[in-house]
Structure formats: C-alpha cells, structure tokens
C-alpha cells in the first residue's frame, strides 16, 4: 500500500473521527444521564401527598431510603426523627409516578422516518414478538416524559391479530435491561373489527358491518386452542415458538390484553374469555364498554379506556363522550385505567396527567382520576406491590409538583425520583429552551 496515501487516509480518518465524536458530544449533552442509585436519605416535608389510591394527606412527611418509601404519614400527627436531605414541600404536591399504559414509547423515534420505526412486525399471530428488546431507553421522546411526571410505561408492540408481548419499563435508564421493571407482562390481541370501512384513507367511504368478522374470530380461537393443546403436552412435538410464547398467559402468569371497541365485539370478547378460560383478561380501548359494565364487573375484567382527548365516534354521539367515558365506566364499578394510543401517541404520552385532569373536568373526583393513571394501571400490570401509590414499603417512584399535576398550569415538577434515584428533569427540549433564552438574554422560567 502506498505510504503517502496511507498518511493521507489517516488524516482523513482523524478528521472523520473528530467530526463523529463532535456529533456524539452534541447528542450526549442532549441526552440526560440516568441518575445513580440512591445513596442518602430524602425526607419530603409538608407537601400534600396524593397517594394514588384516592386518598390525600394534606400535610405529609415522606421518607425515602434505599429506593423505598420507608415512611409516609400525616406530619401533623406523627413524630419522627428527620433523616437525610430535607426537601421542603410546603405548598407543593407529591404524586406517585404516572404510568403510560399501552404506549409505544421508545419503539419509534420520528413517526415519518421509517428507519426509526420498530413498532409493528409483519404477520398475523406474533405472540413471540417482544417489545422490550427494541425499547430505546435513550429515546429523546422518552426523556421528554419525565418533566411531566410520567415515570413508567408499558411498551406495547402493534399490528396483526396477536401483536406480541409488552413489558413495563421505568423511564430513566441506560438500556432496556436496566429499564425493565416487569418483563413480558402480557400478550396483546387485536380483536377482529366487526365493521369495515370502504373508501380510501383520504376520502372515507361509509363504515359497514364486516363480512370477515366471524371467520377472523374463529381463526383466533383456533390459534388459541392449538396453543392450549401444544402447551398441555408434557413434551411438545417439535418446537413452535408462537404456541410456546402463549403458555405463561394461558397459565395466568401474564395478562391477555384484548384491544376491542364496540358493544357487540366486547360481548363476544367476554364469551371468548369464558370459552377459552382466559385467566387474566384486560380490555384496551373498550368504547361502549359502559353498556356491558355489569358483565365486566361480574367477570372482573378491567378496562383501559381509549384516548380521552378524542372525538366522539359518531355524529350523534354526546359531544363529550370521550371525556366522560372513563367516569361512566367507573360509576358502574368497572376498574378503569387510561391509555392514549392513536395518532401521535408517543410524544402525546406526556399529556397523561391532563387526560386524567380532563376526566376530572367531566365529573370525576380528582383523586379518583389520578388513580386511573397510577394505582389502577399498576394493579393491571401486576406491579402494584412496588409501584402505583405512595405507600410505605413501595418503591419511591414519585415526583413533586408546584401545583395540581393534573392541571397544565400546576404541573411544574421540582423533583422526581424513580426507585429513589433523583432523576433529571431536563431534556434536550429544556436545554434548547435555555440555550435560546440565554441567546436572547431573557429570563428562564422553569
């Protein structure tokens, strides 16, 4: 090899390395570093504690040690020695970390950039597909959740009849392994649609009853039955990843999330649950589930209500239906959590607190509304022993807000903790804010 050329190349290489590292440096500053494991002790004093189970302690004291809430009590009635760093919460509010259910955070970075999209595998029956390994813990969208108090999320794959398995993650992590707080919490079934739309995406034709509905339900049932049969054999013949992947859910170790809308379809789902002895069913979306509330309660099926900030499903429907729907369900005794799947669902996930706030605006008690994005989802996800409420012995995954965190104006976080780790509330967005306010010599308000 020509020596001269070689040195020339070396120079170019150096330049490239320099440029690349410069690029990384920029990206690195835009990415927040996950907080280290909790070292000392934190005591949050005098804040209003919103427990997440519907209760409030107006003037609370909360002690956090080794990532755990070791004490939470009414400061006016309890005497204890103050330990560690004292955080003055006077006039402020403490909330359990908000949980974004049925989200695709970290699976797609930019909607319109195909190369950044990992949310949808091809194929119809994909129970073996696992969202967790594609979850990008360093997504810039993910880090924009934390300043709004959204600290946990269920990451769900999309597409197909069975889209795969979700996992629950915390949103301040180095990598997916680090992020996982419950791996493979359940399998997701997209229930066949009982109607179909004609026309094109740009000019909608009318919606009509689907002719394939029954066939598709049968196909799904057959698949499940086959999986049952496969898994009931002591030593299955051959290896079938798809069937094998269903075993934990069939055994009741994982949830069956069934994404379904419409009264008829929900009733069919309930029949399906009974017929197939589905042990831990959860309905996601659930439009018109209020008409089936009695059965849902009797069968103990929770509903994760579809996006609150949505339009009524039809022209004649009550103008405020999506706003009041979670309350309609809750009033009938159904266990209700919130989700936000739909267009632009990822960056909008930071609005989870305001979805709950809106539900409160349409008649729900504010603390009950909070429960729909904290303790109830934690219960559904099977993580409520550790997460979802401010209770002694639970993980210190919580945040402090200057005002009502379910109101846009009040949602002003001063501190947030995940497993006691004192996490950053910055993001590349706050950095850009500060950079340009500094450029203009203007006062930064945050």
């Amino acid at each position: 090899m020509n020596a001269k050329l070689f040195t020339g190349n070396m120079k170019t290489m150096k330049n490239i390395v320099y440029i690349i590292s410069a690029l990384f440096a920029i990206t690195a500053t835009a990415q927040q570093t996950p907080a280290p494991v909790q070292q000392g002790v934190y005591t949050i004093m005098n804040a209003t504690a919103h427990i997440g189970n519907g209760e409030v302690i107006e003037n609370s004291v909360i002690v956090i040690e080794n990532g755990i809430i070791t004490a939470i009590a009414d400061a006016t009635s309890v005497k204890m020695d103050l330990k560690g760093e004292r955080i003055d919460g006077y006039g402020m509010h403490v909330y359990p970390g908000i949980i974004a259910m049925n989200s695709t955070l970290g699976l797609v970075e930019v909607d319109a950039v195909n190369a950044s999209d990992d949310e949808r595998e091809i194929g119809t029956f994909n129970p073996h597909i696992r969202s967790l390994i594609a979850y990008n813990a360093e997504s810039r969208v993910v880090e924009s959740m934390r300043p709004n108090g959204v600290l946990l999320a269920q990451i769900v794959p999309r597409g197909g009849r069975i889209s795969g398995k979700s996992s629950v993650v915390q949103l301040d992590a180095w990598n997916w392994e680090d992020a996982a707080i419950r791996t493979d919490d359940g399998v997701h079934i997209n229930w066949p649609s009982s109607f179909r739309r004609s026309g094109t995406w740009y000019e909608l034709g009318p919606i009509e009853p689907s002719k394939n509905y029954k066939e598709q339900v049968t196909e799904l049932t057959d698949f499940l039955n086959s999986a049952q049969a496969y898994n009931s054999t002591v030593t299955p013949v051959g290896l079938n990843l798809k069937y094998a992947a269903l075993q934990p859910a069939l055994n009741g170790d994982e949830n069956f999330y069934i994404h379904v809308d419409g009264e008829k379809a929900i009733r069919d789902v309930l029949k399906f649950i009974k017929a197939n002895n589905i042990k831990k069913p959860v309905i996601i979306g659930g439009r018109e589930a209020d008409k089936v509330a009695t059965e849902l309660v009797a069968m103990n099926v929770p509903v994760v209500a579809g996006r609150v900030h949505d339009l009524p499903a039809r022209e004649d429907e009550d103008v405020d239906m999506p706003y009041k729907f979670p309350k309609l369900l809750a009033d009938k005794g159904v266990m209700v959590a919130l989700e936000n799947s739909g267009s632009m669902e990822r960056h909008q996930a930071r609005n989870f607190p305001f979805y709950a706030g809106t539900v409160a605006g349409y008649g729900m008690d504010m603390e009950q509304a909070l429960m729909m994005i904290t303790l109830t989802p934690a219960k559904i996800l099977g993580i409520d022993k550790k997460y979802g409420s401010l209770e002694q012995g639970k993980s210190a995954t919580l945040f402090i807000s200057k005002g009502n965190a379910l109101d846009m104006r009040g949602n002003q976080l001063t501190r947030a903790f995940i497993d006691g780790r004192d996490i950053s509330l910055d993001s590349h967005q706050t950095e850009l804010y500060e950079r340009y306010m500094n450029k203009f010599g203007a006062e930064i308000k945050r």
């Binding site: 009982s194 609005n351 605006g361 349409y362 850009l432």
Partner: protein
Amino acid sequence: MKRIFSLLLLVGISVHAQEYFPNNDDISAVSNITRVITNATIVTSPGKIISNGTIIIKNGKIEAIGNGISIPKNAVVEDAGGNYLYPSFIESYGDLSIKTPQRASSNGTAQYDEGRKGYYWNDHIRAEQSAMDYFMYDTKEAKKYVDAGFGTVQTHLHDGIARGNGMLIALDNNGTDADRILKQESGNFFSLSKSRQSNQSYPTSMMGGLALLRQTHFDADWYAKGHSKSKDLSLEALNAKKNLVQIIEAGNKKNLLRVDQLGDRIGKQFVIVGGEDAYEMIADVKATNAALIVPVNFPDAYDVSNPNLEWFVNLGDMRDWKQAPGNLMTLSKAGITYAVTTKDLKSPADLMSKLKQAIAYGLTEDQALAALTTTPAGILQITDMVGTLEKGKLANFIMTSGKLFEDDTEIYENWVKGSKHLIKDRSTKDIDGTYATTINGTTYDISIKGKGKKSTVKIDSITLGSIITYDGDWINIVTTQKETDNKSYTRFLATSQMNNLSGTAYLPNGQEIAFTAMKNKDASKDEDDEEKEDDDKAVKQMGTMTYPNIGYGSISKPTEETILYRNATVWTNEQEGILEHTDVLVKDGQIAQIGKNLSAGNARIVDATGKHLTSGIVDEHSHIAIDNGVNEAGHNSTAEVTIEDVVDHEDINIYRNLAGGVTSSQLLHGSANPIGGRSAIIKLKWGYKAEEMIYKDSPKFIKFALGENVKQSRSQNGVRFPQTRMGVEQVFEDYFSRARAYANSKNDKDFRYDEEMEVLLEILESERFVSCHSYVQSEINMLMKVAEKHGFRINTFTHILEGYKVAEKMAEHGAGGSTFSDWWAYKYEVNDAIPYNGAIMHSQGVLTAFNSDDAEMSRRLNQEAAKAVKYGGVSEEEAWKFVTLNPAKLLHIDDRTGSIKKGKDADLVLWNANPLSVTARPEITMIDGIVFFDLERDLGFRESIKEERQQLVNEMIMAKNKGMKTQTPKKKDKTLYECETIHW
C-alpha cells in the same frame, strides 16, 4: 368521418330507407301510412285532458289531435278502448348509447402537464367533445327507457370538467339513426369531476375544479377576442357552443349553490343537475333562479332490525330516508323549475315507483308529469318538438291503462315518432275475481287473485298453491295439490273473453277436461290492503327538520338575544385585565356595556356568579368544515383556489368546536404546495349557511407552505418541482417576479386576466396576508428575506416550531407565530420542536398564538393555552391571549373579536371555571350575540336525538315489514382534514 360512414351503413340496410336513397334489397315502396288512434283519453299536457279523443299521426308527427276529428281515408285506425295517452317522457341527463372512452393508464408517477397539444392546458377541459363522436345506438339499453315511458333522451359523454356538447335522440327502436337523431348538438355540459381520459393531476380538489372552470371561461373570452397567438381547440369549442343550453352536474345542495355562484362569476346561468337534497336549503336554491335537473334516487330504509347495526346510521341519514321523497313537492311549492332524471337509479324502470313516493308526499300528478315532459322540453329548448301532444309535434306518447301515477296503471305502448313500441299487451286481462266454474258438470266456486308466485287460487274453501302467468289474453294457471308426501300439479290453459274464462284443465292423472268459468264478482280487497290504502292516502309528512338538518341542529335558526351576564369574572384581554364580579351586557349582537350592577332592562339575565366570561377562542389554523379536498396539489402554486368556495356549514365539528369555546376559525388550504389557496375566515355560526359564516369584508389570507410537505419528502416518486428547500425559494422568486410582470402587462393589447396572478399581486401589494406553514429556521428566514426583497411582509408563520430560533428576526420582520403548544416528533423537521416555543417567541415580542390544525384539539384549545403557563411561565392572562386576542390580531379581525370591549362583536364564552383550568368547560358559547352552544340545550339535544332516532327506527322497521327495499346500515363520516391530506 368514420362515424358518418357507419351511420350510412346502418341507414343503407334499413327498411326505413330515405326516399332519395338507392334501394338494392327490395322494390321501392312508400310506407308513410297515416295512423289514427281513436277513443283515447288524451292528456295533451299536465292538466289538459281530451276525453274520447282522436290522434292522427303522419310522418312521425301529430297531424291532428282532439275531439271529433275526421279520420282520413287509407289510415290504419286503432281503438284505444278508453285507455290514456300521455306525452312520452324526456330524459335530459343520460349517457345512453354513448361509448365511454377507456381510462388513461397510469405508470404511478403523477402527471402535472397536459397530455395533448393544440387544446387547453388542462386535459379535463374537453369542450371540443361532441356526443356524436361517441354515439352508437344501443337498442337494448334504449329499450329500458322505452319501457319506462321515455321517448326522447338528451345524451352526452359523461367525462371531463368541460365535457362538450350532447345530442338529442328519439328512442325509435324500430327506426335507424336517421330517424333517431333529433339534434346533433344539444346542451353544452360541465361537471366537477375529472376526465378518465387523462391522469393530469390538476385539479386535486373541488375548489380547484371551480377555479379551473372560472379561468377557462376567462380564457375563452380572451381567446374569442383574438388575443391568443396559438390554437386552442378546447377554447374555440367552448366559444362555439356558447349558445347551447349550458348544463352542469353539481350534486348536493351545497355544490348546487357553488356552481351557481361560479355561473354568476363567469356570466353564465347554468341548468344545474343535482339538488336531490334541495329541500334542506330551499330558499337558497330558489334564489339561484336556476332550472334544475333533479335525481330521484331516494334512499331505501336502513335495515335497523339489529340494534347493533343501528348505530352505524347517523340521525341525518335516517332523516334523508324520511325526507328525500318530499324533495320534489318542496321544489314545486317553492316554484322552482325542475325536470327529473333517472340518473343514479339502477334502472329507468325504478322511476315510476320513486315518483309515486314523491306523490305520496304531496307532489301533484300534474307536477310529476310536468317534470317528465313539459319542463324538460322547456329547459332543453325543444318545446317545438316534444313535451306536449299538439299538432306539429313529434308523435311521442305512451298509452297507459289508466291514470299515469295510479298503482295499477300499466304502460301498454310507447310510440316514438309515430312508431309503436309494444310494452305490454293491452289485451291482457286482470282475471282476479270469483268464478262459477263448471268442470265435468260439477260447479265449483273458484276465486283467483294476484299473479306469478304471489297468486292464490281457492277452490270452494280450499286454498291451493298456484302460479299464474299471462300471455296476451291467454292465462296459464298451475295449481299444486298436496297429498301426504306427494305433490301433484294441475294446469289450466284458458283464454279470457268478456270476463269469462274458457279453456282446458290438464289434471295430474293425464286427463284433459274442458271448462268454463263465469265471473261472479271482482276480487275483494283484503282488510290489510284497505288499511294500507288509508295509510297511503294521507299525505306523508317530512318530519323534523333542523338547522343544519342533522343531529344537534336547531328547529329554528338561532337568533340574537339581549343578554346580561351577571357577576362574572371577566377576562377582558384589554388594559382592564381580569375583572371580578362584573356584568357584561350583550345587545344587538355586540358587547354593549361592561361594569358593575348594570341594569338589565329587558335582557335575559344569566347568573355568572363563580363563572368566567371570556371572548371566544380564535383558531388560526383549522381544516374543519371543508368539502371535497383541502389541498389543491396539482400545481406548486394554486393561489387561484379558495376555501371560501368549499365551506361546509354542516360539519358536526363546527358544533363540537363551539362546545369547546371556539367562535372563529381560519379554514386554511393544506400544505402540499409552496403557494397554496386562499383561506376562509369564519364564525362558527352553526345552523347558518356558509356565506353567512364567512366574515363580512373578510381580511384576505392565503396559505404558503415550506419544508417536507411541499418538497414531497414522503412521496416515493415525487416529480413536482421543488424537491429541496433550495427549490422552494426559487418557486417564490419565480411567482413573484411573474406577478410583477403580469402587473406591468395590464395595459397590453393582448392582456390575459389570470386569477392566480391577481391573487399573487394582492400579496405583493400587501392587500392579502400570508399564513405560512413552516418548521425549521432556515426556511423561515428564507421566506422573510424573499418577502422583504419583494416589498411585503409575512403576516403569520403557522406551525413555526423552530420560530424560537429566529424569534428576534421574526419580531424585526413583523411576522407573528401561530404554533402548536407541544407537538413534535411526528416528522424529521420537527426534531427540534419544543413546547417552550410559544413562550420564547412571546418573550421576544413576536405576536404568538396556539392553533389546532386538528378537529379534536381545536375543541380544547383552552388547555393548550394553559401549556404556555407550564412551558415557559407565561402569565395566565397572556397565555389566554394565545388562543383569543393574538390569533384575532394575526387574522386582522381584532377590531371585531378577540377581547371583551364595548362595541366589539359579542363573541363570548361563559366557562364553569378559570378557562385555563383542566376542568374548565364552556356553558354558553355565543357569536354576534346569538347563543350557538348552551350546555342545557345540548343536554336537550341528546334527549331529542335519542327520541327521534327511536321513532325513525320504528318507521324503518315498519317499512321493512311492509316489504319495502332496505339497505345495510352504513356509517358515513366526514374526512378529517389536516395539512397533509391530499386528494379529493
């Protein structure tokens, strides 16, 4: 030439050879025999009846008609037996016998340029087409029309936005084209649908179609004056066909009004095809003064027997079913000139049942007949030929068994140009009745009813299964006897004479027995039938109609009130700031007084204690309430189109927006091209029509766009210039330079008026404001520089998600920013979008607003405003202005709305709480002092919608049980447009 040749061929072999033609297949013989029909009840025109009349026909025309006419010798005379003669019907809008050209093939790449030379620049303008060139008489199809009673059809090629002329044909199936072609040029046709013969993109929207028709006509005038240097066969044809009746297919009532407005602009009074829902806006339709050609394809009832399917059907669609048959009656009452057309019907045979439906709703039989005969003749200007039965007109008439629109009436014959077409043998007798039947000496009482499989035959008291068929005056009856497992059949073949039957019975055992049957009495009607008849006699009512005529419409148009809001927290958006315990008086549509303890006078008092009163929300960027396309994407500049042409006053999202406190919206063109279309700035006056919603003396706006959308970044095969941001700059440079040149050419001899250039000139002259879709700082900066170079200012950057990076430049330029509160990550160019954008721009003195671009978000813009408090600490008072006063200023409507100030329009919202609170919801939304949303009233609507649905569901089930046709429930949704929606 080819055409004419084949025509000659047809004529050559015909028995109807014209007298000067050589004849090689027979001897020459004159066959112009005079035909006479006597003893007819002749309806010469609606309402004019000659009883026991005679009609004399010669050479295809009516030679004489009336009573007591002497019958010429050597004539063929028929006795009509008292049957009725009516003028045969005229179809004004057919495509009968027109061969539709093939659809142009596509290679998947958009085609922006024209595909033809020597014609207009747009392939969808095909004024040069002539029906004659596509004509090939289709006897089989024509027979359907003949059987339905039609004698004349105006037919044309249904293809293109300008379609060229039609032709008038007589449906003489016995004759040749030489007999059939009445007029080679009849009617000049237009539509709002593109030609299938070309894939040229423009127009991609209805507003583009309207703009194209405008410019085409401006160009035709210009061409007619000899200004063009080159040949344009389309424009020449358009000019040459100017004196034909100008007919345009519009469709629903809204499009009907749109094309009439187009006609006003280009100086044309169109005959308009459409208006099947004209009853919903009858006064406006009347005001067009247009003659109409109206389809009668009234919808079938929805099959709602399954409640799970019922919800698919909107109340508005249920009402359509109930009300559409009342359309013709409504048109007649309003004195509108209209013909009916079989367009949209599955077959012309369905026409009669549809008209009978209309008659049940109060249309008179004369009106129905007129819409089929005299009126179309008048509209098509062919009253000299057809429409009535008068001397000298074509002998086009039908013979019917009775009054035309009566249930049992049958059409026996259809005479076209004096040539008889037999439809049903009039010797066929109705044999229903009871007969004393003698078989083998024994007499049975046999009663017979109905025909085909629906017939019954009773012998004494035993009912037999039966099938009865007729063939002329022969009757064939097959009866079934059941004996345990075996079925056996008896066949009767008989002929009827003077109410009696005589014939042979063929028994199952092979025996043949002659029989005679003497009629005792006619069949009695069942009680059911009688009930049905009573039912049918009462004029059917159209039922509830509202403004607009869908769910959540009001029974009467909402009107202005004098209202005193007592003791509210008033967000003035003025220097006074937020006033506690304050009264606001609304009078004459305006804010009359603001103060404490105002005297109410006769005002309705609204107790606003503990509530907040604000000015209405103004959405700077909305795409609700738009019909048939939000993007005209066919060119990279489409300044000639305007959303004002396509405002949809019936979009339910208007009501939903009101429920969210929105009172004004800018309906923007989409972002498919750098220079988009003009905006409509509207007040959300739900229940009012589009032109009443659009601001009076509206500020003029146009949409520009930059970035990914205009450079077609996500298109696999984008071929339209520009494909880069670099190109985008040059598009603007090019168009503004051209607009300048255009301005300088106005005194030239050959000056050509160009709507697009006129609009661009308005921008250059700062008479029209720009609202520009934009994301990244480079392009924002670029456009400001281009504008500065050309001497104008960019009024608003909309979306403007990197506005914060160039906020000081924007402030200096004087551009405002209307942004999303917190959207990002949906495409590459919004990577650096931050929710602090609004706060930063605001801090640098940029007039800042938050907008929706989304029918869902627009109904909670108050929540979005509150995010300016969260992200960047904007004060509540200022944050509130982001969705009220600031967008009003951006839209130059702040002299009328946007704050609570004496003398401003009373566009107000009463909130249950601080409007920035997450729990805030509007209780009253008013515009111009008219309450358009009221929470109490809304709850009432919900109840009344439920009740009315239930009632209509009952009626539809009843209709189904009566055996009427039904259709599967369908849910019809409006497309929700956003910036990027391309297509029509």
